[in-house]
């Protein structure tokens, strides 16, 4: 019973945060949630399956722009547009993943990088549909969620849904097969696992989650800009996953909280914050490859042992 007490208490606090805190904190928390959703998708790919994608946020862009076009140009209802946007990002992930997954290690990374750059170039240059570099303005928020307080609850629900999906995947047979593929793909294949099928599935699922994050983001900001979906943002997503703890359930949340929250708290200029995070990323790979989640886990175990 105590296992669920702490998460339940945290959830209650998060859901009632709008009553307790000012708009500034809410705004920061919404950004955290919006960064965490695509990071969950990347965590499934990078952390659990071992697929280092360097173009992940481009799929958030597919979700964001699909939502924008459907909501503004096609005048589709908000929720159906959101659903189609998530499905479109997932379908693009399946199609592009199928190509990328013909490659391994270095080459997989290079090809995902290339697709990320191509998708960004399309968002930046296809003026008739995406409005080009100036951005796509006038994206609505859903009818009942127009204020910051209500959108906060929507973003929190979205993030919780993403984490719930991650939890369900990881404890299912599908998740166990993904972990087996990361640990030893050849052995898993010898045991009869269709590696390409499972890796394509996780690529599609990860991209769909990215699409959800992208669609919610453009609707929160009310504008879709290509710069939100460029290579630097894809690198940031890798940063969030690795610093938080790749292959741990809470990793993306910790990473996003640190990435968005810490600089706001410290009030440092944007460029210094990325200098610090870049250095942090290097240090984590050198000294704490399991990220913050791993450090907390080790510390907790040590404490528990001492207590006995």
């Amino acid at each position: 019973m105590t296992r669920f007490a702490a998460p339940a208490a945290l959830l209650a606090v998060l859901y009632f945060a709008p009553a307790l805190s000012g708009p500034y904190l809410l705004h920061v928390l919404v950004l955290c949630y919006l960064y965490a959703i695509p990071a969950v998708g990347l965590n499934l790919m990078l952390g659990y399956t071992g697929l280092v994608s360097l173009g992940h946020i481009a799929f958030a862009g597919i979700g964001g722009y699909t939502a924008a076009v459907l909501m503004v140009d096609a005048r589709l209802g908000y929720w159906s547009a959101l659903a189609v946007a998530v499905a479109a990002a997932g379908a693009a992930g399946a199609a592009i993943g199928l190509v990328c997954l013909r490659f391994r290690s270095h080459f997989f990374m290079i090809v995902t990088l290339a697709f990320g750059l191509m998708l960004y170039s399309v968002m930046n240059n296809w003026d008739d549909v995406t409005r080009g570099a100036a951005g796509f303005p006038g994206i609505p928020r859903p009818p009942a969620f127009t204020t910051l307080e209500s959108f906060y609850r929507l973003a929190l629900t979205g993030a919780l849904a993403a984490f719930a999906v991650q939890w369900l995947v990881v404890r299912s047979d599908f998740g166990r097969i993904l972990i087996a593929l990361r640990q030893d793909e050849r052995l898993a294949e010898a045991k009869g696992v269709n590696a390409t099928l499972y890796k394509t599935a996780v690529f599609a699922l990860g991209s769909a989650l990215a699409g959800l994050g992208g669609a919610l983001q453009v609707s929160f900001l009310r504008v879709a800009a290509p710069a939100s979906f460029n290579l630097a943002e894809s690198i940031n997503a890798v940063l969030i996953v690795i610093v938080g703890g790749a292959g741990s359930l809470a990793g993306p949340a910790l990473g996003a909280l640190l990435f968005v929250g810490l600089p706001e708290y410290l009030r440092v200029a944007a460029e210094w914050r990325l200098v610090v995070f870049g250095a942090l990323l290097v240090l984590i790979t050198l000294f704490a490859p399991r990220g913050i989640a791993g450090v907390i886990d080790d510390g907790w175990r040590r404490l528990a042992r001492r207590g006995r």
Partner: protein
């Protein structure tokens, strides 16, 4: 038409030469250490900034600044190799992730120190025009092509005849065998990294006067250099040269038929198609059971 084509070919050879300088460094480092250094582009950019610093603040001589920036970046490369890539040897995933960390740290350090705006590097050779038939080019274009050609020739000579060059080739062929015959592979790693980053710095310092010096100036050359390496065959030095030039020329000539906005996508699409169709590249080197 022929005039326009010739003009684009010369332009393409110029940008291609820059890609060659980036690709050479990346291919040497990949061959010897099996590291794919995505941070090579920001080192290229840092080379441009260091050259700008020496040119405007210390000495008024462009050539001297160019050489100094190569020396400084060689030292930066040394620090990066010893501090980051060597401890992560053998862990490919973490090496790539660390190189992403380096991109963030170095690019934003430059923004913090020099500001986000592009800087001008005023050099006489960009303003003097040279006539080539009926066309006129800035002398700087031809200088880039010439310097790259000399570098490539020196590099081939160095790899073929010098002791260190032979050690580099031996290490990239088989690291363990090289160790067995007494080659100090860790020193070879350091030398290769210094050489690679110095070449990147040369590229950045050469491009600076033409296209300004700005924090993202290394992004495109890094990706194009990578495309060049893949085209030539991962791990092949001649392949990197030919591949870089082909990417440069194709991209320039494609502007005659396609909107310039999509110029970059052409290079990336070519890259993916090559990998799908002929993953060993034009020169057919297959390194260590990859792909």
């Amino acid at each position: 038409m022929a005039q326009a084509l010739l003009e684009q070919v010369i332009n393409g050879l110029m940008t291609g030469s820059v890609y060659v300088l980036v690709a050479l460094g990346m291919v040497l480092i990949y061959g010897v250490m099996h590291v794919l250094n995505f941070a090579h582009g920001v080192l290229f950019m840092l080379g441009g900034y260091v050259c700008h610093f020496f040119f405007t603040r210390v000495t008024g001589s462009y050539v001297l600044s160019l050489l100094l920036s190569m020396v400084v970046l060689a030292l930066v490369g040394l620090a990066v190799e010893r501090g980051v890539f060597r401890p992560l040897q053998g862990n490919l995933r973490n090496q790539v992730i660390a190189s992403l960390g380096l991109i963030l740290a170095i690019e934003n350090l430059v923004v913090a120190l020099w500001g986000p705006n592009a800087l001008q590097l005023r050099v006489a050779s960009t303003e003097t025009l040279v006539a080539l038939g009926e066309l006129r080019f800035p002398a700087h274009h031809l200088m880039i092509i010439g310097i790259t050609a000399v570098c490539v020739a020196l590099m081939f000579g160095f790899l073929k005849w010098s002791k260190l060059g032979t050690a580099i080739r031996a290490t990239s062929q088989d690291r363990n065998a090289a160790m067995v015959v007494g080659i100090p592979v860790e020193k070879v790693d350091m030398a290769t990294f210094c050489l690679g980053t110095a070449l990147a710095a040369l590229g950045g310092a050469l491009v600076g006067p033409l296209f300004l010096v700005f924090p993202q100036m290394g992004d495109a050359p890094m990706v194009k250099g990578l495309a060049g390496i893949l085209l030539g065959g991962m791990g092949s030095v001649p392949g990197a040269v030919v591949g870089g030039l082909i990417i440069g020329v194709t991209e320039s000539v494609s502007t005659l038929f396609l909107p310039t906005d999509y110029r970059d996508s052409v290079a990336f699409a070519v890259m993916v198609l090559i990998l799908l169709g002929r993953p060993q590249g034009l020169f057919g080197v297959r390194v260590r059971g990859e792909a």
